[in-house]
Structure formats: C-alpha cells, structure tokens
Symmetry: C2
Subunit: 199 residues, 2 copies
C-alpha cells in the first residue's frame, strides 16, 4: 500500500497550482505549514480569503484596491493631468517603487492579442476613454510591455487618443542601467542609439 495522506496531498496540489512552483517545492512548502503551529495555517488561510474578498478594481483607474478608489486616485497630491497606461496591476507597483512618478495610472488588464482571442473590448479601454472626456488630461504615457502585443496595444490606443488633442508618449527604449553592452540585443542597441540624448 502506498504512503498516502489525503489532506497533505491536497495542500501540495494547491501549492503546485501557483505559478513557478514545482512538485518538490510544493511538497517543501506544504511540509513547512504542517511543521508550524496551527495559528500560522489559520492566519495564512484568513489572508487568502480576506485578500480575495476585499480586493477589487479601483472605480477610476482599475488598479487593485480594497476601497472604492485606490490610494493613488484618492490622493490630492497626485497630478491628475498625466495618466500612465499599464497592462497589469503589478506594473503600478513597479512604477510606485521608483518613486519617480506623481501622476495617476490606468490599468488595461491585458494587452490586445488576437492569437489569444483578446481584442480591445476585453480591455479596460472604455474606462480610460471615459476618464479622458471627464478629466482635464494633458499627457498619456503608454507603459505597456515592449513586446509585439504591448506595442500593438500602445499604437492602437495612441491612434484613438491623439485625435482628442492629448499628448501621447511611450516609455524610452534603451540599454538597461548596469547592463553590459556586449550582451544587449541588436534591436535594443539600435533603439538606444536612435534615442540618444545630449549630455
């Protein structure tokens, strides 16, 4: 008879469904939960339920929040005339970590990808266009990923927004800070050359 513990197998399976977690790691994590006091498993379970129940999309920018408006949209210190358009909620966190941006965001929740059956209607573009007509917007920064789909989405949106007389910009391409030129790919290097700045 095989050595089988149903509740442990179920916990391992749950860990294994997380992205980037393989069978061995899932087993290690599940055993760690078993080894710790029951209080730990309880808190973890509560955090899971709580996060899923309380977090939804900001009414304005579609970023994650546990309130009606996210703390950025609700803040009086942010510049509402600049909107940085990103594809995923985690991109908002990435920009916020830089502490360099004082405008607001708009999260599309995806990019246009015909191969995956994702067209403009599946993205939060309606909500963005509504903001453009309501608020006094000066600049839209396209901050989708530098992939084929990200580019297509950025150019689709810019074609919609430019006729409204709003400035549309795109993140700069170039060599990553701290990288070695030798390992930069040809396209990146060509773009870095093209976008060179006077020093």
């Amino acid at each position: 008879m095989a050595y089988n513990i149903a509740p442990l197998n179920e916990l391992i399976a749950q860990f294994e469904r997380l992205p980037g977690i393989g069978k061995k790691t899932a087993q290690r994590l599940a055993l760690n939960i078993i080894e710790q006091p029951a209080e730990r498993a309880k808190k973890f379970a509560e955090a899971l339920i709580n996060a899923k129940e309380k977090i939804h999309f900001c009414k304005c920018c579609q970023a994650l929040t546990d309130d009606e408006l996210c703390s950025i949209c609700a803040s009086t210190e942010r510049d509402r005339s600049v909107i940085c358009v990103v594809s995923e909620p985690k991109d908002v966190m990435a920009f916020e970590r830089t502490r360099e941006f004082s405008g607001t965001y708009h999260v599309l929740h995806g990019v246009i990808s015909p191969l995956d059956g994702i067209g403009p209607d599946q993205l939060r573009i309606k909500e963005l266009m509504a903001r453009l007509s309501d608020e006094n917007i000066k600049e839209i920064i396209m901050a989708t990923n530098p992939t084929v789909e990200g580019e297509a989405t950025a150019s689709y949106l810019s074609r919609m927004i430019k006729p409204l007389g709003i400035k549309v910009t795109r993140l700069a391409y170039g060599i990553p800070v701290g990288a070695d030129l030798e390992y930069a790919d040809d396209f990146t290097l060509a773009r870095a050359l093209e976008g060179r700045n006077e020093i």
Copy 2:
C-alpha cells in the same frame, strides 16, 4: 500617499514567510491568487486548515498521517522486522518514491545537535526503543543525513540498539548515480573506494 493595499500586503507577507520564497516571488504568488476566481482562494484556505488540523504523527512510527496509524504501519504487506530510521517525515516520502523498501520506518523528528540545544530527549527515541522491545525486529537501518549531526545520531542510536542483539546498518556512502567523478569531493570518493563491491 503610498500605494498600499492592506489585505494584499498581508497575503504577500504570509507567502514571504514560507521557506525559499522572497519578496518578488511572494508578490507574484499573491497577485496570482487575486487574479483567480474566489473558489480557488477558498479551496487553498481549506486545504491549509484541513492539513494542519488532520495531520499528526503516526502512533507507531511517528511519520505524518491523518489516521491513528500511517498507511505503512497499518499495511499487512510491509516487513515489520526491518525499521528504517530517518530524521524527518519528508525522508519517508523520499524512500517511498524509490519503491525499493518494503520494511517500516521510524521518524526521529530531528537529529542530535548540541549547538542547537537538541539532545536525545527531544527526539522520538523512546518510541523507537519501545518498538524494539515489543516487536520482533531483525534489522535497524540508520538513514539519517550524512552530516556531522546525522552521523552522531546514527552512532548514538547504534550504541543503544546493538546490545539488544539487533543488527544495525547504515546507508551506503559512495558516488551519486549519474555524477561526474571529477566533481566528487575527496571524502565521498574515499568512501566509495572503501565500500567497493565485486562486479
């Protein structure tokens, strides 16, 4: 005002407390939970609570089980005269994966480690000795890790068990299957030479 979502931060913190999970991975896992249907978070939470509530140590071998006896101790097909002594529950799983062992196990739940304040009394040695007097045991296989503490524990136990007239064996040392001799350390190579077998 910083971008802060308390329930998300709490979930990230819970993931971050798992072994080998850093800040970025924890964030990725937490966001994955947020993106999935609520049913997923609920099942995960239930699995955590369930595993912690139902799993305890086998009355006989101290391995993990959700029953009074683990499926190995409860099985009528296992050879009860051979006990493989391991330090952690996960070691039982490792041996079971090989499908090469038909005896039973005993989990010590640690190794003797004076530096960490762990002496023989903190391990499940009492329970092992009780089994030796009750059952008709022919061989004890010491399968603690090949570390200083694992060796010390194995030799401590063998000094206790040998006087009872029971054969005590230790896992073979040698080169791992598929490894390159060039990268084997000196001690391992010396032990592999010492333990050579006729072919």
